[in-house]
């Protein structure tokens, strides 16, 4: 159900049913005259990989800053691992790996200096630090780069060192902002593979990005944000998660016997003929385009059957992610 930027959902996609990893409840954030976030509510369960899509200025980074304790909400509540990331910072962030924006680094420090510091702050015992560091730099393939001053690293190398920092201590939740930004195609593919592997290990991934490919490659669920308001919450592959969401929908039907346009139109409920666009396809197949929720979809199929059409198959066609992005977010920049 979408109402005033609030999306509530009951079942996580893909059968994931872990405990709550983090949640936002009516969270708003205002910077002076700018309303960066407006009553955003959603939750992510453990083991989910969620993409967070929206144009520049939509409020994605603001959300991530709130989640990682870098910023305070103007209104609403956040829970990360059951704790408030501002009031109970240590508890909330102890098993979270964060990379927000592109943090500046101190050019004279080595990457290993940064990673060791992160390990110490995260409370990793001194004797386990080399192992943790080795695992993180191995995953990000920066074994040589971490021993050089960060000021001398390329953008991509630095990005991977920072990502290794986020992975220090095997965090259960990863909150990543544009993680593939600045990476070459090979490194981008490698990172997606790493994130997929982490997801398979059961880690929660929250991925804010402009790149739909990242979301398609890594995530099972996607949230759309525009103008500080949540616009949609869908499964990446199956589309709308909420059966009551009123959306443009496409239903592809196949009839057992030959069928023509007038027969299909005649089978539809009279009051909906003008609202449903029928497209005839080869092989006794036709496509219904309409705007509505899932009960409306069922109602249409039922009326076809009731009218005597022998429907052997009726399946919703899910538009690709790019189309859904444009549907929710549009082409204009958020305000």
């Amino acid at each position: 159900m979408i109402s005033g930027g609030v999306i509530s959902r009951t079942d996580p996609p893909g059968g994931v049913a872990g405990a709550e990893a983090f949640a936002l409840e009516g969270v708003s954030k205002r910077y002076g005259d700018v309303q960066a976030l407006n009553e955003v509510t959603f939750s992510v369960r453990e083991g989910e990989a969620v993409g967070y899509l929206g144009p520049n200025g939509a409020g994605k980074t603001t959300t991530l800053k709130l989640l990682s304790g870098l910023s305070r909400p103007t209104a609403g509540h956040l829970r990360l691992s059951g704790s408030d990331p501002i009031l109970e910072r240590r508890k909330a962030l102890s098993s979270v790996g964060v990379l927000v924006e592109t943090p500046g680094t101190l050019p004279y420090l080595k990457g290993s200096d940064l990673l060791e510091h992160i390990a110490r702050v995260k409370g990793i015992p001194a004797k386990e630090v080399p192992t943790a560091l080795s695992r993180a730099v191995g995953l990000m393939d920066v074994r040589e780069a971490v021993d050089r001053p960060m000021g001398g690293l390329s953008t991509g190398q630095l990005r991977r060192v920072l990502l290794a920092g986020a992975l220090m201590g095997d965090p259960h939740v990863l909150v990543l902002d544009e993680p593939t930004m600045g990476l070459d195609p090979a490194a981008r593919a490698d990172l997606r593979a790493v994130l997929r592997a982490l997801r398979k290990e059961g880690r929660t991934i929250f991925l804010s990005t402009h790149l739909l490919e990242d979301v398609e490659a890594v995530c099972g669920r996607v949230l759309f944000l525009r103008g500080g308001r949540l616009q949609g919450d869908e499964s990446v592959t199956h589309g709308a998660l909420d059966p009551s969401a009123v959306l443009p929908r496409v239903l592809r039907c196949r009839s057992v016997q030959p069928v023509d346009l007038s027969r299909v139109q005649g089978a539809l409920p009279p009051c909906t003929v003008m609202e449903v666009d029928v497209e005839m396809l080869p092989d006794q197949t036709f496509r219904l385009r309409f705007r509505g929720d899932e009960p409306r979809q069922a109602e249409l199929v039922e009326s076809l059957v009731r009218a005597g059409l022998h429907i052997s198959r009726a399946e919703p066609e899910v538009p690709d992610l790019a189309s859904r992005y444009l549907r929710y977010v549009g082409r204009e920049e958020a305000t």
């Binding site: 800053k65 990682s68 304790g69 870098l70 910023s71 305070r72 910072r89 240590r90 508890k91 909330a92 962030l93 102890s94 979270v96 964060v98 927000v100 924006e101 943090p103 500046g104 680094t105 101190l106 004279y108 420090l109 080595k110 200096d113 940064l114 510091h117 992160i118 110490r120 702050v121 995260k122 409370g123 001053p149 920072l162 920092g165």
Partner: protein, 230 residues
């Protein structure tokens, strides 16, 4: 506690990697050595009628050492948080599971602790050097004020300068602007101290006020840092 230590260690690592740590050598070496050179110069001039007493030599030496220590304190304090905030690397440190008080506290522990300790040692070295170059004479007139009071006063001044510079770095989010603010605070303090000395009204109340103002500034710095919205 462990995060406090980790942040003090982080600050120390930054000093080592940036070679900023060598700044601490300046007051330790240049203070006593510069004082000794000044004493020798004045002893040479003394032959032409100027009288340099042991007490005045001590004041001179403490001023030289204190000035160098102040310079180092300003620099290290400005860079401590100012550098991270201006480079936006606080996006990393402040998203780690640690309280912001531990972040700032750990760093300040090292900055203020080491600069005060360095002056304490370097300033103490002025005494044997002054006694060696300008021995105490029974006929020496009293110095302008007791040297040990100046020693204590400079320690308070360094605390005040460090605290006010760190506070400025959090407000401005810039090391360079914090440095300017710290220098201005030093100039105002030195002017006030000079004027009170001219009026013969300088007492230990002055450094006590500096300590209190420094402590208030630090309290404000912690509050602002806690509320810092990135």
């Amino acid at each position: 506690m462990s995060a406090l230590v980790a942040n003090a260690r982080w600050e120390l690592l930054r000093w080592v990697r940036s070679r900023r740590i060598f700044l601490l050598v300046i007051p330790l070496l240049a203070g006593p050595i510069g004082s000794a050179i000044a004493f020798l110069y004045f002893r040479h001039v003394q032959a032409n009628g100027t009288v340099l007493t042991n007490g005045t030599a001590l004041l001179l030496g403490l001023f030289v050492t204190g000035g160098l220590s102040a310079m180092v304190t300003l620099d290290l304090a400005a860079l401590s948080e100012g550098e991270e905030l201006s480079r936006r690397s606080h996006l990393l440190s402040l998203s780690l599971p640690q309280s912001r008080a531990e972040v700032l506290g750990g760093r300040l522990l090292l900055v203020l602790g080491s600069t005060l300790a360095i002056f304490a040692v370097a300033g103490a070295l002025v005494w044997p050097i002054a006694s060696l170059v300008v021995p105490v004479q029974p006929t020496d007139p009293a110095a302008l004020f007791p040297p040990f009071h100046l020693y204590e006063g400079i320690l308070a001044l360094l605390f005040f300068l460090g605290a006010s510079t760190v506070t400025a770095s959090i407000i401005t989010r810039s090391a360079s602007e914090a440095l300017v603010a710290g220098v201005l605070a030093g100039v105002v303090t030195a002017s006030a101290a000079g004027y009170l000395t001219y009026l013969h009204q300088i007492t230990m109340v002055f450094p006590a006020v500096l300590l209190v103002v420094g402590a208030v500034a630090l309290g404000w710095a912690f509050t602002r840092f806690e509320a810092l919205d990135t």
